[in-house]
Subunit: 403 residues, 2 copies
């Protein structure tokens, strides 16, 4: 579904969208750090934002833009989060929108603003102004790769994808870029993700779809249990494909919804797989729960357990730590009903750590992708949670990431 | 208050108590691994236990002993947790009590049983039987150091203390040993701690005092956010001091309570300071909260944040991560009212990261003991939470601690 060809096209794959990423000197290492995504045709906009009470200035501003229902552009930077920056931070975020709007010839409240990076320092606005001007001048159908690289921080690679579907004989395209890495956890988008589509869809339906989908994609990822001040996922739908506008939850909506969901799940998985210092990508399938919320809570307890995560780093199933985390998750489990499997091999059942084939288990744990099934035996609800292991490198990155 | 002299006396410091620790071959490294604490005079017993739904067999058994109100002995081992061991685990825990009771000439339901170590494997009962026999034969007033060493796992040192007070002209003594290290977190004792006293006190008062005190001592410690299957704190009070029995909440009770609290807080602090891989001991004073529960919740969000903990490991205040954790704690804080100080130096105030003296901050963060004040500005309740940093060594210990 997500071919490499499409991936490089990213957010500029849908008709009417262009993108750019430039070096403005905001990142200390001199890498790309300012991105602009643009659609001349007005787009319906939807967004989901961090629930952290210490939200950054750009989060507050972008919520207002989403509330207007429409947008023409996204401007984003990495290297400075513009969080805990008070009045100056608010002015700087507003200025980013104004500068972008002036260059593009749209209104400032048509510009989504996002920042990521170090908390507590002010944006260098002279560099930002030059960067925005430069980025707008470079907007193109080939600009998504640079835009994607301009929003990463400690990510080891930029996350991007693109795909298309047919709605009533019309091709409708989707593209996305995202950054993740540290401060990734439940209960919010927990990263930056920008999704573009040339579908024509009612804004309220788009917002409702995004909110639902976020719950089973980005909100099911945990790298370290921390929730960032700057997280957002934003969708722009500009209608350039010319499909019959989606105005109700019919067949076209379902097709659109499924595609948006598959993009969000794909990006969520890539964010987990590229968690800070990750050497393993872990998929936790929690089944047999009484509700989705219960299943997710159990999955998150395991995903947030340093003991479970460092066991996987050490290629050790140590299922005792996993059933222990299930036991303190807060969900009323019955230990004797729980079954835990690593790569299909049962390691815990009927209240006991089972005797399994150690060689087969070693092979499972030597893989990069580890699938852990946790069957609760209490109901029929399920959730899938994505995470990574906890390695020396995580500590190194976060002890050295200096203020 | 807690002299080194007293510390070596530990749980055998109060009149009528003896202790021993022996090598039974349960720990792979051949260290001391079976401990017995004994009082010939029947003691009032109180206990607080893990809330983990996957509690180990000895936890279930010891709860029953506490419910009888009296006890004569504690038998504990390290190296095998006897958790997730099903029916066999229950039988083995019962057998530990029976073997100890037989050697001591008391009833099996007078013996508190505790185990710590790897989850999921069965106790080697032949070794255990020989170990218990050996330990009982070695019970003495000098045995507390060995008993303390017999209950540690990845602890780098055994925690012990002892002290005395005067109640109505009579000297009343207290002693304690504890183990902590990994799987240390809120919501329970989260470790093993055995406290002895020769005070004469009503069992129900003792139990109520211990429960209250646990909330502000052991339940305010977090090393890694994991909650163990085996945690318990148990107090034995044998009345050998001959004080006028404490039967109500008068002056004697208050003096007893304050002493028991200071012991529990001291042991909690030592457990945090010796968290797995810890290079720093962190005290989080959360003030200005609307309730103790709110203050504790904020402190725990910081104490459980890998980002905050690895920043301290890297000698970096990075206050953005701290206010971020305060923001997602779930407590309704107002970012502009929060003040965060490291060693008395204000790093965050009025919604902003402040400009502080970097040299002075470096000195604060170079110390082993770091005090962080978080003032919420919302009320007058407070809580103190104890934790440690997150280091390479934590990962090494937990990746290598093999099943």
């Amino acid at each position: 579904m997500f071919s490499d060809n499409h991936k490089t096209a990213g957010v500029a794959y849908p008709q009417g969208f262009t993108a750019a990423g430039v070096r403005a000197g905001i990142k200390k290492n001199g890498n790309l750090d300012v991105a602009v995504i643009y659609t001349e045709r007005e787009a319906a906009v939807a967004g989901v934002f961090t629930k952290n009470l210490v939200a950054a200035a750009p989060v507050h501003l972008s919520k207002i833009v989403v509330n207007t229902g429409t947008a023409h552009a996204v401007v984003a930077n990495a290297g400075c989060a513009n969080a805990c920056t008070g009045e100056q931070g608010v002015k700087d975020a507003e200025k980013m929108a104004e500068l972008t709007a002036r260059e593009l010839g749209c209104r400032a409240d048509d510009v989504i603003v996002a920042s990521t990076g170090l908390i507590g320092s002010n944006l260098p606005m002279d560099k930002m102004a030059a960067g925005i001007k430069d980025a707008v001048s470079k907007l193109s159908k080939d600009g998504s790769v640079n835009a994607g690289n301009a929003i990463v921080t400690t990510d080891t690679y930029s996350k991007a994808c693109a795909t298309e579907i047919e709605l009533g004989g019309v091709e409708v395209r989707f593209g996305a870029i995202a950054k993740g890495s540290g401060m990734i956890r439940p209960d919010m988008a927990t990263m930056l993700c920008f999704i573009t589509t040339d579908a024509d869809i009612d804004q309220k339906l788009l917002q409702a779809a995004l909110r639902e989908i976020t719950e089973v994609s980005f909100n099911c990822v945990s790298v370290d249990g921390d929730m960032s001040t700057n997280d957002m996922v934003v969708v722009l739908a500009n209608g350039a494909a010319g499909n019959k506008k989606i105005v109700d939850k019919g067949a076209d909506y379902q097709k659109f919804y499924d595609t948006l969901k598959s993009i969000c799940v794909e990006m969520a998985k890539r964010i987990a797989a590229d968690g800070e210092g990750a050497t393993k990508f872990i998929t936790l399938n929690v089944t047999g729960a009484k509700s989705f919320a219960d299943a997710k809570q159990v999955g998150m307890a395991v995903a947030n357990s340093p003991l479970c995560k460092s066991a996987i780093f050490g290629h050790d199933s140590n299922v005792g730590r996993f059933i222990c985390a299930v036991g303190y998750s807060g969900v009323k489990i019955i230990p004797e009903k729980v079954i835990i499997k690593f790569g299909g091999i049962t390691a815990y059942e009927k209240g006991l750590v089972t005797k399994f084939d150690a060689d087969a288990m070693r092979k499972v744990l030597a893989e990069h992708d580890i699938v852990i099934d946790i069957e609760l035996g209490l109901g029929s609800a399920q959730a899938t949670v994505y995470t990574c292991d906890l390695s020396f490198q995580y500590i190194k990155i976060n002890a050295d990431y200096t203020t």
